[in-house]
């Protein structure tokens, strides 16, 4: 009962929709339990995330983060690797962005800084993924363990740098100085005033994220390396037997994955906060795993999943604002339910649907 037996629209459209519907149904029950009107809650959630310009702006802002971290997880997925270190890689990626911005912001406009920031964030993120990748490739230390351990190392490392080396003197917050205009990406509201994004921090890096989606698609489905990555992911033994070098594939895939995670920092640091600050990743790296799962590790799916999670973040904030009895922990419950149904219980509806969509003749032949 593989996905190949189902029409594409069922596999990519109907099943995610059913999972999502189930998640919202259960969330609705939770909302009823705490004594609020679930329909009203859904209305606020959707309106808050898509109903007006600024809401859409916030949704896209969060989606930008999730596209980067989702792509990072997806690329590793294709090679059968489970990179859950996006959190740490993004955090260290922030260092690359900050280096570029702090060094250049006084002297050049943002479009000169941007390539260096992209390069810096990707290099730092990739560097943070390198050791786990190397250990996996040569020693067989599982990346799930090592990447998550590297998240903690990243937190301590960045904490040290921010407090002892890069901190703005006299400030209580562990953060660098604020970047000048040369280190700030333009907000989309300033580029397209007619959309009315208002104060939403969505910025030019949204397009960088979309470009990254295209590049990842080209890489995975249109290059030799991409073929090797997919072959290795489907069946590592066969790939090695066919003469593909496993060490190179693992290391290169993880470097690309780490680099993509690191690029998330462009959106947060150069696009929105305009300074490097401690703990700016706040879980986007982990949500990236859910985004990649839901998006079927395909760039197009990831864009949609990222927007969905962007909606949950922005609409959720709006919801806990409008309905004080729905606390932020409740919002996390709703997000968790979506992750649960889309990720862990992905196969719950699949057997039934496969049965529904398989012509009876095929079944008979199978049974015979």
């Amino acid at each position: 009962m593989s996905a190949g037996q189902l029409p594409r629209w069922v596999d990519l459209g109907l099943i995610p929709f059913l999972n999502l519907a189930a998640a919202f149904l259960v969330s609705g029950l939770v909302v009823v339990l705490i004594g609020e009107n679930p329909l009203e809650a859904v209305k606020i959630l959707v309106w808050g995330s898509l109903g007006y310009g600024e809401g859409i702006g916030f949704t896209l802002f969060y989606a930008t983060n999730f596209i980067f971290t989702g792509l990072a997880v997806a690329v590793a997925f294709q090679a059968g690797l489970f990179n859950i270190g996006g959190e740490g890689q993004a955090y260290v990626g922030g260092l690359g962005v900050a280096f570029a911005c702090l060094a250049l912001d006084h002297y050049v406009p943002w479009y000169v800084t941007l390539p260096f920031a992209i390069l810096g964030s990707a290099l730092m993120g990739a560097a943070w993924a390198f050791i786990p990748a190397w250990l996996q490739a040569t020693r067989g230390s599982h990346v799930v363990i090592t990447t998550i351990m590297f998240n903690f190392i990243a937190a301590s490392f960045m904490g040290y740098l921010l407090i002892n080396v890069m901190k703005k003197p006299g400030s209580m917050q562990s953060e660098t100085r604020t970047f000048e205009d040369g280190g700030r990406l333009p907000f989309l509201n300033d580029i397209f005033p007619s959309f009315g994004f208002g104060y939403a921090p969505v910025n030019l890096s949204f397009f960088v994220a979309l470009a990254a989606c295209v590049l990842v698609w080209l890489l995975i489905w249109r290059t030799k390396l991409g073929y090797e990555i997919r072959a290795f992911g489907q069946n590592a033994t066969a790939a090695v037997y066919a003469g593909m070098p496993p060490v190179r594939i693992i290391v290169v895939t993880m470097l690309i994955s780490g680099g993509l995670a690191g690029m998330m920092a462009i959106n947060e640091i150069m696009g929105s906060q305009h300074r490097l600050l401690s703990d700016f990743v706040t879980g986007y790296g982990f949500v990236g795993i859910a985004v990649a799962l839901m998006g079927r590790a395909h760039p197009v799916g990831i864009v949609f999943a990222a927007i969905l999670f962007g909606m949950l973040y922005q609409g959720g904030a709006e919801l806990s604002f409008e309905m004080p009895s729905i606390t932020r922990d409740m919002i996390i419950v709703i997000q968790a339910l979506v992750i649960l149904f889309a990720g862990a219980l992905e196969h719950m509806f699949r057997p039934t649907i496969v049965r529904l969509f398989t012509p009876s003749r095929a079944l008979e032949t199978k049974e015979a």
Binding site: Y62, A155, I163, Q173, S272, S278, Y313, F321, T327, R328
Partner: protein, 333 residues
């Protein structure tokens, strides 16, 4: 949007009818830091103050717990747009957001706790934690039999060094030969919520001879006080009154009255006596204090009470000046 405005107006109307006709029409709001409303420490103190105000005046307030850094500005703006006034932001991390949003809404009054934002419509509320820490340091030195006392901080930031430095000055004032061990739990936000490590640090200080340990470490401190109770030593609580956590094993608590700050901000707005600018709450203003209740009555003898009373008077009169670590980022030894 219109609907929310209607709800807001209805709430305000309700508030007026409860509080009486002459009461000013205010819609106060609180924005907590990442720790959230129920962190049993700093943010919760703000929540307590807001609840107290609601109970005393029957005025509803709104609050919000942020999930990530981008929501700071968004929440402040949401409050301001809906006509909330005054808006109290808890924690120094809100400074950038308050500065930005306060400029956009010059007619709305903002307040920020633990940080200075220099704008005509912002009240910056600071606490003289060093004074309160000096007092508990005095008590620690007098209660100690070994002449060695400890300090466990949360995250390694100047604010916590301010606690440590005041404490040390108090200890040395009572016993010039005393030794003070200082440990910080960590360098990230996680250091506020690591009771296991807090307990370990306290135990290692006990191992080196300390018998009183003061913590300024949020949730981590629960482990510090637990370790003290376990080993038959004394702990000192912080922010809220933690004497009751381990009755008989908590010497006292250094109170940082964020609740008073929030309550006052709301009350001033209500009585039309709002003032912007600095508000520094020390021993004199009742912003910091030490706690004495049934749980620690036996631990504090009359001699200690007299010494604390004398020091408090001298600090209030200015005869004793407790050095503020943050004024020059150093502590006199």
């Amino acid at each position: 949007m219109k609907k929310f405005l209607t709800i807001g107006t209805a709430l305000a109307g309700l508030a007026i009818s409860v509080a009486g006709a002459q009461a000013a029409d205010i819609k106060p709001a609180v924005l907590y830091d990442l720790g959230g409303r129920n962190d049993e420490s700093f943010n919760q103190a703000a929540f307590t103050g807001a609840e107290q105000f609601k109970a005393d005046y029957g005025v509803e307030y709104r609050d919000f717990e942020i999930q990530n850094d981008s929501q700071r500005e968004q929440a402040l703006r949401n409050f301001a747009k809906r006509g909330m006034n005054p808006i109290v932001a808890i924690g120094f991390s809100q400074a950038n957001a308050v500065e930005k949003v306060a400029k956009e809404f010059p007619d709305t009054q903002f307040a920020i706790v633990d940080m200075v934002v220099d704008l005509p419509n912002v009240r910056s509320i600071l606490f003289k934690e060093h004074e309160g820490s000096y007092i508990v340091g005095l008590l620690a030195a007098m209660a100690s039999e070994t002449g060695k006392v400890g300090f466990v901080g949360g995250m390694d930031i100047p604010l916590i060094s301010k606690f440590a430095c005041g404490y040390k000055q108090g200890v040395l004032a009572a016993n010039p030969d005393a030794e003070v061990f200082e440990n910080m739990t960590g360098t990230t936000g996680a250091a506020w919520n690591d009771p296991v490590k807090g307990g370990e640090l306290a135990k290692s200080q006990f191992g080196r001879g300390a018998d009183v340990v003061y913590h300024a470490a949020g949730g981590t401190g629960i482990g510090v006080l637990g370790a003290a109770a376990e080993e038959g030593k004394l702990g000192i609580g912080v922010d809220s009154n933690q004497n009751g956590l381990h009755p008989g094993s908590v010497l006292t608590s250094m109170l940082k009255r964020v609740d008073i700050a929030v309550f006052q901000a709301f009350e001033d707005a209500k009585n039309d006596s709002w003032s912007s600018g600095f508000e520094v709450l020390g021993l004199k203003e009742g912003g910091v204090d030490w706690s004495l209740d049934d749980n620690n009555a036996e631990l504090v003898n009359d001699q200690m009470k007299a010494a604390v009373e004398e020091a408090t008077q001298k600090i209030i009169s200015g005869e004793i000046v407790v050095h503020d670590y943050m004024s020059d980022e150093s502590c006199p030894s």
